[in-house]
């Protein structure tokens, strides 16, 4: 009985931390306690889909976009430097005439 009570007390404390699936006026809401996560775990062939979009692919595309942007930035910084050099050279040649 004492063990049962201890268990009950412990349960009581965790009650609000328990995850839940709730319906609110027809909306479906998945909830967790303040420090708890919602996790999606797929095997290599399983997918998580939100309205027909594969979330895994979406996250992959975000990373791909980020990498592309990094490359574009590098180019955008490298490019003017290179062109500026060429223009500078032309300018020098003109001055030397």
């Amino acid at each position: 009985e004492a063990g049962g009570l201890a268990l009950q007390r412990q349960k009581r404390n965790t009650d609000l931390q328990q995850p839940r699936m709730t319906a609110e006026r027809g909306n479906l809401v998945f909830l967790t306690g303040s420090t708890k996560n919602i996790e999606f775990r797929t095997g290599s062939l399983g997918k998580i889909k939100l309205n027909d979009e594969d979330v895994g692919e979406c996250l992959h595309q975000i990373q791909k976009n980020k990498d592309d942007i990094t490359n574009l930035k590098r180019g955008a910084i490298g490019l003017p430097q290179n062109i500026s050099n060429q223009i500078h050279q032309l300018d020098s040649k003109l001055a030397d005439l």
Binding site: R12, L16, R20, T22, A23
Partner: protein
């Protein structure tokens, strides 16, 4: 005293399902669309289809959850009919069958009205189960000393009102009735009246609802109707007028140990409480007090006259020790001989 709410709305409780069993693996499951409810899920369940309520919640205990199983894949779920979750609004606060007393003891029972929490009782809802309680209709405000729910104890009306208005509260309490708490511990050692005079019609209606609202025929001539009891019963009632020295707890313990424990009284059950004195009895006894101590004695088995014998033994006890016990006077009533059933 503590009163514990018994029924739950757990997913895993067989009684909550239309066919009195939890959905089998791969079952189609239906929750009523328009019933608000909180449902605790303790285990893992495979479902092929589950219609959720428009307003409700499924609380997942650790390890609990749902998985997909297409219907028809499992032999043990061949039934075509979906498993229906029973109406979660069917549990009424005033139903005596839905409460458990904290100080239950072997040989003790409570009259029907006192099985429902009295105004000085502390009410406890299960912390390890989901539940739903209907308040009302028509019985007015339910008053108790405190309410414990979801790990919180409410002793102030403002706090309780805030809880009841919250989503958590609305998922668990419904109906036109109001619930109120107040600092009314029973401070009188001679006991306190339960305070259900107004609510008793509702209590009895809830109790007798499965019987079509009518009491079963008592199995004796001249049956008795104790104060707070919904139907006539066979046995005996001892009514005590007490003085300032009377201690209800001590007297109840005395009856349990000095009488009910005796072999000749085995099978008898006893309810001891302070009740409003019935007006006709008040006039007859000439007593000024508007309350009395009611001792109800019933036999759980076939009628043997044991209740009557114990009633007379209690009168003799009071004649001998009344002054020490704080009892001023006592009367007893007995039901008549058994009827029917070819005894």
């Amino acid at each position: 005293a503590y009163k514990f709410w018994v029924p739950n709305t757990d997913f895993d409780a067989a009684a909550n399902w239309s066919q009195n069993r939890t959905p089998c693996a791969g079952a189609a499951v239906e929750f009523p669309a328009d019933k608000t409810v909180s449902v605790l899920v303790r285990e893992g369940h495979s479902v092929s289809d589950m219609l959720l309520p428009l307003d409700g919640e499924f609380v997942l205990a650790s390890g609990a959850g749902f998985s997909a199983l297409d219907t028809g894949l499992h032999l043990d779920c061949s039934t075509a009919a979906p498993a229906l979750f029973r109406d979660p609004d069917r549990f009424c606060w005033h139903d005596p069958r839905l409460w458990r007393s904290g100080d239950a003891a072997h040989g003790l029972f409570s009259v029907d009205a006192e099985r429902v929490p009295c105004s000085h009782d502390d009410v406890v809802f299960p912390s390890d189960a989901s539940f739903r309680v209907g308040l009302g209709p028509g019985a007015g405000t339910v008053r108790v000393r405190s309410v414990r729910a979801l790990g919180q104890t409410f002793t102030r009306d403002e706090d309780l009102a805030a809880f009841l208005a919250s989503r958590a509260g609305r998922l668990r309490f419904h109906g036109p009735g109001a619930l109120s708490v107040g600092p009314e511990a029973c401070a009188d050692q001679s006991g306190c009246v339960c305070g259900h005079a107004e609510a008793q019609p509702w209590i009895c209606a809830a109790l007798l609802q499965p019987l079509g609202g009518r009491c079963p025929q008592a199995a004796c001539r001249d049956p008795l109707r104790p104060e707070g009891q919904c139907c006539d019963l066979c046995g005996a009632i001892v009514s005590l007028t007490h003085g300032p020295a009377f201690d209800l707890q001590r007297y109840r313990a005395r009856l349990l140990h000095a009488f009910l424990a005796l072999p000749q009284y085995q099978g008898l059950q006893m309810a001891v409480s302070k009740v409003p004195r019935q007006p006709r009895l008040r006039e007859a006894s000439g007593a000024k007090a508007d309350t009395e101590i009611q001792v109800v004695l019933v036999e759980t088995g076939p009628e043997t006259g044991g209740a009557g014998r114990l009633a007379r033994a209690l009168l003799a006890d009071i004649a001998e020790h009344g002054e020490a016990l704080g009892v001023l006077s006592a009367t007893a009533r007995e039901s008549g001989a058994p009827v029917g059933g070819g005894s």
